[in-house]
Amino acid sequence: MEPRQDGKREFGEVVIDARGVVKTYDTSTVEVRALRGVDLQVRKGEMVAIMGPSGCGKTTLLNSLSGLDEFDSGTVFIEGTDINRMPDDKKTEFRAKDMGFVFQTYNLLPVLTAVENVELPLIVSGTKPKVAREMALKSLDRVNLRDWANQRPAQLSGGQRQRITIARALVNRPAIVWADEPTGALDSATATEIMDLIVELNSEEHQTCVIVTHDPKVAARCHRTIHMADGLIVREDSQAQMVAVAAEH
């Protein structure tokens, strides 16, 4: 596939290549077809937003693409590797080294300090503690939280906690950052601040970002937005189109 240009930026090769992804939830009483054959390609350095009404399959798609969840059929290649064929151990290692995650509900370990939370993915992937600590502090520096490194999550505000999760997501310099409603629990000012940070990091580090969101303002900060309904991708908007939609809001 040829490199694609969007606005001023040129994106690299395809790093996420999903084809015909199907996922069904069987709750023993009801069968829910969450994904009905989704095709999606994302290039290196691209920021893609996934939007759609509740229950349309956004989070399921993110979980399936990132290897957090199994899917029934179809293929997902991440940087050329078929993620569904990887054994659990490999998949976990792959996540630890090449992916970063940001969730709506921060999911920080309350018993660890900010810096200990951030260095966690490095240590579990075998980085030496001293090196991990240095990298974690640098990462906290990137999100302007160096001074809060030794505080526990309970002592920080919602925005600060989300910045720590971003620092944690970026600490291992992952190729892809997955974010599920990263601003969902924040007020609009803090949400803007967080999105500024993600965009800034993306432009500096050239990481690929896939963001599930309800908020058109968040989507407007991404290079393109795909819209889902009933387990399928139904439309794709460019950044310019989404800026217009966000302005209407």
């Binding site: 989070t59 399921t60 979980n63 990132s66 957090l68 969840d69 659990d88 151990d89 976990t92 290692e93 996540r95 630890a96 080294k97 970063g100 995650f101 969730f103 509900t105 999911n107 370990l109 309350p110 018993v111 660890l112 200990e116 966690l120 993915p121 240590i123 579990v124 992937s125 075998g126 030496k128 503690p129 001293k130 944690r168 599920d180």
Partner: protein
Amino acid sequence: MNELFGLSMTYIAAGTVIATAIILLFVALIAVRNPVMFKMGLRNIPRRKAQTALIIVGLMLSTLIISAAFGTGDTLTNSITSEVYDMAGNADELISWDAEKQPAPVAQQTIPLAKVDELRQEFAGDPDIQAFVPFLDEQIPLQDTRTKLNEASPRLVAFRTDDAKALGGLRDTGGNTVTLAGNEIAVNQDLADAIDAKVGDTLLAFYEGKSTEFKVKAIVPSTLLGGAFNSNEKKGAAVDFSVLAGLTGKAENADGVFVSNYGGVKGGNAHASAARQKLEQALAGMPYQVETFKKDGVATAELIGNAFTTVFIVFGLFSIAAGVLLIFLIFVMLAAERKPEMGMARAVGAKRRQIVESFLSEGMGYDLGSAVVGLVAGMAVTLAMVQIIKSGAGDNLGVDLAVTFTVRSMVVAFSLGVIATFLVIFISSWRASRLNITSAIRDLPESKAPNPESETWMGYYRAALNGMVALALPVGFSLFLLGPTGMLLGLPLVLIGLVSPWFYLLRGSNVALPRELRLDQGPPRWPWILGLSLIGIGWVLVLPWYFIALGLVVLVRDRKPRGLATWMPAAGILVPPFGFVLVLLQHSRVRINWSAGVAFAFAVAGLALFYAGLDRNSSFFFFLGASLLFLWAAVTLRYFGVNERASFTVTSSLLLVLWYLPSSVYEKVVGPLNGDIEMFFLSGLVMVTAGVFIIVYNADIVLPAIARLGSRFGRILPAIKTGVAYPLTSRFRTGMTMIMIGLIMFSLVMMATLNANFSAVFLNSDTKGGFDDVLQVNNNNNIPSIKEAIADTGTDTSPIKATGELRVAYPSEAQVENKDRNVSGGKVNDYSRYTIFGADQGFLEATALPIKYRAAGYESDRAIWDAMAKDAKLAVIPASLLAGGHDPFGGDDTLLALDPARAKDNFEPFTLNLRDPGTGTVTTVTVIGVMKEAADTFLVLGAPASDGTGGMITGKRTLLDTFPGSQGQRFYLALKPGTDADAYAKKVEAGLVQASADSLQKLLDEQQAIQNAFLLVIQGFMGLGLIVGIAALAVVASRAVVERRQQIGMLRAIGYQRGMVALSFLFESGFISLSGIFLGLGLGVSLAWVIFTDGNAGTDTSGAGFIVPWVRLGVIAGIAFGASMLMTYLPARSASKVPIAEALRYE
């Protein structure tokens, strides 16, 4: 079993059954009044089946422990009682010679048969006494000529055939009547087993040097008629009356008379007291005594059964305490799990009471299920324990244990389990119902509104005031311990205490609100129902106080002032009635710091207990009071803003220091204090709790250390960190679990350590006294020279290196001057009965019995023994004589104990008078040494079971001169190296008819085996508590998996492998269990050391080295740790299998 802790089991059963019935009625009432909440509660039970199973296992443990303790007591009581009835049959009383009344040579201590006939005539037609059965008995050695096996001291009895009919007549094991004539003998089952006798065998009886042949006519049961008089002396045989009379020269006389009452085997006991009284009247002025031996035997059985139950219950208290903590923990966790549901129920209009009812319904479902399971499991544990005792103690037990469960005991165990669980569920339900609806629905931590009085003296005064009023009853009663002043202070509090619970109940209800806030709701009605349904008690203890409280609330509810002056609550604390009025006047919405209040009330009670401890020399009161004061100090420091870590660490450390102080140190200040087994329980509870406080408030100190060691741990570093950090964020549940494990470990470790040390003191190689074999000689066939006697039998005497002889005057034949009159109570006699040994030259030359204290002028142990060999009027006494006295006959007027200060190293020799109660001869001996504890065991080993006592040793000549009637004789053999002592003993015994021989090592091993069997049973029983701690760990881990599901999802998302997730959970449980294990281990060993080296354990152990049984402790710790890891493995595994995507969405 008829009594527990001095209370009649019938009353206990009635009380517990009534309480259980009320609980069940209460729950039935909930079901009828509020079926929705009832169903809501019950339907939770099958929701999580594994969790339900875990809860039932956790809740059943208290019932299990109680029922196992009762089952053991029942088994012992019934086994011993059955044996007493089987052995005695229809005989109820025994008339025998009373040497105290009239001293006489043993051979002349008889009753003329003519006197028996007189008694028969006198008591003809008596409503209590049915028959008199005179008998002869003599301990005579017997040998089976076919098997060549012999028995040195079996009891040969003789009854006249017609007399014996009153006791059912002599019958063989098949139930056929046996009539003996001429030289026929009926051998009882125990003797037949010992010498392998069969019908038709010829037995040789040896009496005063002559032998007589008997032909075995029958094998008979081991009853009185067959020569079995008690469970320690069952081996015997019966012969014709005239034959034994001829042999012993007791024609027309009897050694004793059995009396049979009306009422049969068991019913005869009802007439025993009356019969004894009448017989004593009839025998007044004559040298005879009457013993109600069957009734006494049954009472002893009862006593033993009760004693065992009490011991098991006391040792089980740790497990029961841990079980109660577990129940509380389980329900606190359940409440946490149900918080959003309960919040939702409250949001849609459910009242707090209804939440409690729903929770109670669920809890009662578990409660009843667990009580049934616990009862059955307790019975199974009893079976196992009895089996272990039987296999460990073997024939040495003397009783054939048959597992028995009485319905009454089982009903009590079931009911106690139900009641204990219900109470804990009730408290935790009430606690759970006090939730903030919004926080509960969103599952957020409870937040508290700021308290303007927080950390102020005003707030403290009010807290103290409320604490005193709420706990007025126990505080008031504890003030009674201060004496008359305490009564003056305590009585108003006790009266307030009867009203205050009702006041606090009404305070939280609508009826106490000011008029403008009151709804159209009356006061709670259930106290009415309770008061009316508890006939009698309710009218006195419930209704009047409820009505007084209601009246007071109505009277003051609209008169509450806006605030109180600071001095008022302070004054109220000092004047209880004024304090109660102030409490009534305070607004119900004003916050009270209950922890400070309760701590204050307990401190007041603690002060009273502390004083009572000093006043009554009671360790229990003293230490309990002191511990409560330390608790108060911690809570008060915390109240006034001192850092939590500092408050609890400092006070807990000081408390531990107090408990560790050797008695010799604190007794210098507070005087002597006495404690018993209850101190074992109290020390464990307080010390383990203090230790847990120190750990949970300080363990995070290790976190930076772990981080510094980071590179060594590699990828598992985060798992280790979270393994320590997570438990410390939930101090309550972590602390509770640590206490459970720590308590049980403490008790097991203390027991194992003290046992190892006391075994080393009593059962060591010194116990053999320098000899290898012991020979117990028949009283009627003394041996002048053992070496010659052995040689005469054709046995090679060359392996014998040395021989020693001890002549024995048993307590019935000898008395010792009660020199220091050192008894703790009762009448003090001039002389006490005591065992005295007379050692010959051989014994004194060969013995290696160690001496603990030597008199001045004796440089070595040998010097002591050599001096005794030269002067027969020198003596050595056992250490036990200085440590509290020793008397096999019991009774507070016969205790003999010397002042411990009398003998220390280089003590001044002192004299003791020895007296023969028969002749009144007094001889003075000089004590020049105190033997070590091992001597007590040495002197007991090889003695007949009924004479198994230690005693003092003097010269043989002195003994024979002072007690010419004493017949006891023992020989000791020291063998050449390489000789098999056991085989040689058997060889000697086979040759010597009139003596039984045993290897001292074998006897020592048997003693150790019995001790180990009992220790194993008690440790196993206490170890049941470990299941509680381990179950708690499993509950905590399962709950953690549910609570942290989302975090687990995140960890997996960022790269935690499954194994790492499982590992972090295992680390958490490992941290808790290892903390509990090491705490129990450290505290147990160290306290055992303090007790052992301080001489606080009832035995003077100074000079004995302290042993730590590392292997046994390692096994205990290993089992505890292994089991806890095993139980946590399942939750850890389920945590590792959490589906990531699902977990991240989980709420």
